[in-house]
């Protein structure tokens, strides 16, 4: 039995798998299948300062080996999250990560302050949501804005701070460096890739928001490439995500440079995926005589 535990910014995860924000709500629905401690951590549905009702439907479309979504950050607001969901989550014996999104830098800072006084274990700053009109991805696509918002939130945030990066940029290494320079304890990547599908009969986009964020196996090679590039550029840990569906994908992402992993879209077809992936990881480590999963991170031998 290999050691699957990892440590990110001083926080211990019993295994490297974290439920990806937006695919998992606040955990209760998947708690019907298995105890949530099967996950090393849970990144909660993105929350905003005030309640948001999100975009009109349709909010999802299937693509070859993937999906597009544009939920638009529907959530009950940070105060309701702290009062109604956090106490339950804290009893699940897993790391609780609050994912925050805002329209302005001030909103991010105010939420970071509120959550710093709460029981969340970590904060993941979402500056990469492609599906809202203001805020979201606009903070995540230039090095200046990434550096500025990260250092501003850092000043208000007493919890370990993860910055979630957008893949919709020209140079991910430079963006990752800006997050590190701004004071991030870790980065998570990749958020979804902006995409679009059109109904050829009605000539309308399938998603009401016209464009949506693409996830699932189709984006996995892009995610692996970006994690590898970022790992070459920064010294803080990377939480890798983007289409991880099997234990082999998980191993690949770790080798590319990730220290922990998030999984999301695979849960829609297989809610039991985290259990299968952890079993596969354990077998792979045992078979290869590797004692700890941390020994895989960044072991790529590039040509």
């Amino acid at each position: 039995m290999a050691d699957l535990s990892v440590k990110i910014a001083g926080v211990k995860f019993n295994n490297p798998l974290i439920a990806a924000s937006g695919t998992f709500g606040f955990g209760r629905e998947y708690g019907e299948f298995y105890p949530l401690e099967k996950f090393g951590g849970i990144s909660c549905k993105g929350i905003t300062l005030e309640r948001r009702s999100g975009n009109p439907p349709p909010r999802i479309a299937e693509t070859p080996s993937g999906i597009l979504n544009a939920v638009g950050l529907q959530n009950p607001g940070v105060d309701v999250f702290i009062k109604d969901d956090l106490p339950w989550l804290k009893r699940q014996n897993t790391v609780v990560i609050a994912n925050i999104a805002g329209n302005t830098q001030e909103e991010y800072c105010e939420m970071a302050e509120k959550l710093s006084d709460s029981d969340v274990d970590m904060i993941e700053m979402n500056i990469s949501c492609p599906n809202v009109k203001s805020g979201g991805v606009q903070f995540g696509t230039s090095c200046e804005s990434v550096g500025e918002i990260t250092s501003a939130v850092r000043r208000h945030c007493k919890k370990p701070l993860i910055v979630k990066l957008s893949p919709n940029v020209t140079d991910i290494s430079e963006i990752a460096k800006s997050a590190e320079a701004g004071g991030a304890d870790a980065v998570s990547m990749i958020n979804t890739i902006t995409g679009m599908r059109i109904d050829i009969n009605s000539r309308r986009p399938i998603i009401h928001n016209n464009t949506g964020g693409m996830s699932g196996p189709a984006v996995f090679p892009v995610a692996v490439r970006m994690v590898w590039q970022a790992a070459n550029a920064i010294n803080i840990p990377i939480i890798g995500m983007g289409g991880i569906s099997t234990w082999q994908d998980a191993v690949e992402m770790l080798i590319a440079g990730a220290s922990a992993l998030q999984i999301g879209t695979i849960l829609f077809s297989d809610p039991y995926a985290p259990i299968k992936i952890n079993e596969g990881l354990n077998e792979y480590l045992d078979k290869n005589g590797i004692e700890s999963i941390t020994q895989l991170t960044g072991t790529i031998k590039p040509w």
Binding site: T23, T265, S269
Partner: protein, 250 residues
């Protein structure tokens, strides 16, 4: 256990009308949890998303799923063969609320007809109104008769049964029942909701929306609901698929 994934054995999968298939799958533990108006989320190999299909019937551990081939996923479903193993997440959502002692009018339009069969079996002497575009698409008439329903068939083009819409029949029979349960295309449900409101009849409607997880975590299958004067987003998979028609913002 409210719901779970399980391996079902496919017993049969036959075409019963133009593009409409009747699938029977067995898994005693999960099938027996199903209530009328709930749905099953079908895994289709090679597809990223499951396909939500309403439960047409559940007898002795066998789920009956009557579905229409609409795209690639349902086309692949139609190719599944007896003996195949099908991965299904079920039962999901909240079904119809049936009260003893009431007479129900159950209305189905097109591929919205199948869930009304399971519902008919849970009610006493229901008035069932089924509507289809034309004769080629008519399904489940004998099943409703065997369930003891008073059955009315309508077609839009008059090629079978009454020429007209289900709402025409609904208006004529409005004094013959206490409550309506309906499933079908949104314009039909909107008209039914309006007729019921004008006549003071309670009405439950089953809605459809493009869906992800099926259990209420991903929040994609949103529907606008009015509660206490406030409009909020609820979700077809977890809060529905059945909603109080009075609360739905069409």
């Amino acid at each position: 256990m409210k719901y779970d994934t399980g391996m079902f054995t496919l017993l049969s999968n036959e075409q019963i009308a133009d593009g409409i298939f009747d699938m029977r799958v067995k898994n005693k533990k999960i099938a027996e949890l199903a209530k009328c108006g709930q749905f099953a989320h079908i895994y289709v190999p090679s597809k990223t998303l499951r396909r939500p299909i309403s439960v047409c019937d559940s007898v002795n551990g066998v789920l009956r799923l009557v579905y229409q081939v609409k795209g690639e996923g349902t086309r692949l479903m139609s190719l599944m063969k007896p003996g195949d193993t099908v991965d299904i997440l079920a039962p999901l959502g909240n079904g119809f609320n049936i009260h003893k002692g009431k007479r129900y009018c159950l209305i189905g339009g097109g591929i919205g007809v199948p869930p009304m069969l399971f519902t008919a079996k849970q009610t006493e002497n229901p008035l069932v109104i089924t509507g289809f575009r034309s004769k080629d698409l008519v399904i489940l008439q004998n099943d409703f008769k065997n369930a003891g329903a008073e059955l009315v068939l309508t077609t839009d083009d008059g090629s079978a049964g009454v020429h007209g819409f289900v709402t025409d029949v609904l208006k004529n029979r409005i004094n013959d029942f206490d409550e309506v349960c309906a499933c079908g295309p949104a314009p039909m449900l909107k008209s039914i909701a309006q007729v019921c409101r004008e006549n003071g009849k309670p009405c439950q409607i089953s809605l459809e929306e493009r869906m992800g997880c099926g259990i209420g975590a991903c929040l994609v299958c949103a529907v606008k609901i009015r509660k206490n004067g406030e409009e909020i987003m609820q979700h077809v998979c977890k809060d529905g698929p059945v909603f109080n028609a009075e609360e739905v913002v069409f």
